[in-house]
């Protein structure tokens, strides 16, 4: 675990009145292993280690000077651990779990992502949460490809008593446009578009998403990402963000033991915030993102 890595790093520094760059490098090796095992992207780990090293080596010089003058304020070990935690917090970024849902306007939330990441389930969860928040949600079933995808969303809508729009024979951009019109007629305040899973490298299907965006101009576009995802997280997040200018991410299936290191990577690389966490299959299992929870999980 990364905690093991941090523990090992901490132990390497214990009891020293000064830390040398060699010890810092040794400690960083342990941390690097832990972050990679937590599925943090290779590049992000590289950058993290480089930044921590730069700061820590600077600290070494500083504490050495202080010792020479006879004052030692903080142990080098605490210095180092603090640098790591600060850097990690920096990677987690400022928390922004807000959705753009101004009053008296029909606002859209478009869910996108790889196959099986949890979009349809998340659509249901968001509808439930918004209803609880006093909004009037409306679901649009825009996955015309997956067998029984529309049926799946309709079952969730029925469970929540939230209307679900679908019209056979339409392509997704037109379908979403008509869905939005139906939402407006129903006096809904939030329309949630569930789209089909797709590969970031599938040009045709990525263009389809751009067309949906152009057709209904959703105020919120969320990439739904499976917390178990590995090194592919960055490629996927960057491409979806490049095409659609995402509002943020939903990280799903965090009720398992996946370390969720992808969370660090996608946030770091796109600058977009993680808004929600999927914590189970039930429609009540949606939480707002809290960095401490995720940081301590990635740290093991």
């Amino acid at each position: 675990t990364v905690a093991k890595g941090f523990k090992a790093a901490r132990n390497k520094l214990k009891g020293r009145t000064e830390i040398t760059t060699e010890v810092v490098d040794e400690a960083l090796r342990d941390i690097r292993v832990s972050l990679l095992e937590a599925d943090v992207s290779f590049e992000v780990v590289k950058r993290f280690v480089a930044r921590v090293r730069e700061k820590a080596v600077g600290e070494v010089v500083e504490t050495r000077v202080k010792t020479a003058r006879g004052k030692l304020q903080v142990t080098p070990q605490d210095h180092f651990i603090k640098i790591c935690h600060d850097e990690l917090e920096g990677l987690m970024g400022p928390v922004d779990t807000s959705l753009s849902l101004p009053d008296r306007v029909l606002s859209g939330i478009m869910l996108v992502g790889l196959q099986g990441s949890g979009k349809t389930t998340t659509a249901g969860k968001l509808a439930r949460k918004l209803k609880q928040d006093g909004k009037k949600p409306f679901l649009v079933a825009a996955d015309i490809y997956r067998p029984a995808a529309v049926e799946q969303l309709k079952v969730l809508g029925a469970q929540l008593d939230v209307p679900v729009f679908h019209e056979a024979g339409l392509q997704p951009p037109e379908l979403c446009k008509r869905g939005r019109e139906a939402a407006a007629r129903a006096h809904a305040t939030v329309v949630i578009y569930d789209t089909a899973g797709r590969l970031a490298v599938d040009d045709q299907l990525m263009i389809e998403l751009e067309q949906i965006k152009a057709a209904v101009e959703p105020a919120n576009i969320l990439l739904v990402c499976d917390a178990m995802i590995g090194q592919d997280a960055v490629k996927t997040a960057v491409e979806f963000d490049r095409r659609l200018d995402l509002s943020g991410f939903v990280l799903t299936k965090l009720d398992g033991d996946a370390r969720g290191g992808a969370a660090l990577s996608i946030k770091e690389v796109t600058g977009k915030p993680i808004k929600f966490l999927g914590m189970g299959e039930g429609l009540d299992r949606l939480e707002e993102f809290r960095p401490e929870g995720l940081a301590s999980r990635i740290l093991g």
């Binding site: 095992e37 592919d232 299959e281």
Partner: protein, 283 residues
């Protein structure tokens, strides 16, 4: 002051990056690179191409388990009938889709197939399998919504027996391996299937999503411990994920990869080829 970085160091650094970004994982990558370093030290290898080749050979060796790419079940006349496959894995890994594709392959090879809609939990799971059943022309046994998955699979296997089908494919609901009651449910499904046909299921197929990172190892360990997995299917290899985590899984658990999923249509299932997989890994 960069310190003399030899050609070896920079080549090894490149290989390390390649392995890590392919989700091979620290433990497995370290072991593989140590093997390569040993060859470099022994002067057995000189140039970068040879280092890469040594890696390819070693990874192919790990993956080429008995049964890997031994795709269709043994169907010589008089052999086990129905051959029962129980399909398991975490949520969204591609189980239901893989069953549809596998059913098509089996039918194309002249076998009769029965599908068991063992996911009685998730919204529209039975409907999803029914669409696939219609596409391939195979009967599907369903229970009511919320029915006991074990009894649905039991009925499916029974139907396989009475209709003298060649293969029964049982779908199950996705579940995270960390959920003990859900893993217990799967164990019960397996026990109950054995009541319909002693010795069944003949294959416990764990479906792994190749976009997963190191968590796939935990999945494989836990599903294997609970159910004695006999084969793996690796899905979504048509994406940019390399599925490198499979190397450590095969090395540790000796579970053969039977199939790879390379898309969402009925034809997108290929028998696993270690050599092809390794080539793609190094692309």
């Amino acid at each position: 002051l960069g310190g003399g970085r030899t050609l070896d160091d920079s080549v090894l650094a490149d290989l390390e990056e390649l392995l890590f970004t392919a989700d091979i994982g620290v433990k497995t990558a370290t072991a593989l690179l140590e093997m390569v370093r040993a060859k470099v030290r022994a002067r057995a290898l000189a140039d970068p191409a040879q280092l890469k080749q040594a890696l390819k050979v070693e990874i192919t060796r790990i993956l080429a388990l008995d049964g890997a790419a031994a795709a269709l079940p043994p169907f010589a006349p008089g052999q086990v009938r129905p051959w029962v496959v129980m399909v398991v894995g975490v949520n969204g890994s591609g189980k239901t889709t893989t069953i549809g594709k596998l059913a098509a392959k089996l039918k194309d090879a002249g076998h009769s197939v029965v599908l068991g809609a063992g996911d009685t939990f998730r919204a529209a799971a039975g409907e999803q399998l029914e669409v696939w059943a219609g596409r391939v022309g195979a009967p599907v046994v369903r229970g009511k919504n919320g029915a006991d998955p074990a009894s649905v699979c039991f009925e499916a296997v029974q139907q396989g027996v009475t209709t003298k089908a060649d293969v029964v494919l049982c779908d199950t609901a996705g579940r995270l391996h960390t959920k003990a009651p859900l893993m217990e449910e799967l164990k019960k499904v397996k026990r109950v299937i054995a009541k319909a046909v002693p010795g069944a299921p003949h294959e416990v197929l764990l479906v792994l999503d190749s976009t997963n990172g190191q968590n796939a190892i935990a999945q494989a360990r836990q599903f294997h411990e609970a159910l004695q997995v006999t084969g793996l299917a690796l899905t979504k290899l048509d994406g940019t994920a390399k599925g490198g985590v499979i190397i450590g899984i095969c090395d540790e658990l000796k579970l053969p990869v039977r199939w790879v999923g390379v898309g969402e249509t009925v034809a997108d299932l290929k028998a696993f080829s270690p050599a092809e997989f390794v080539e793609a890994l190094f692309e």
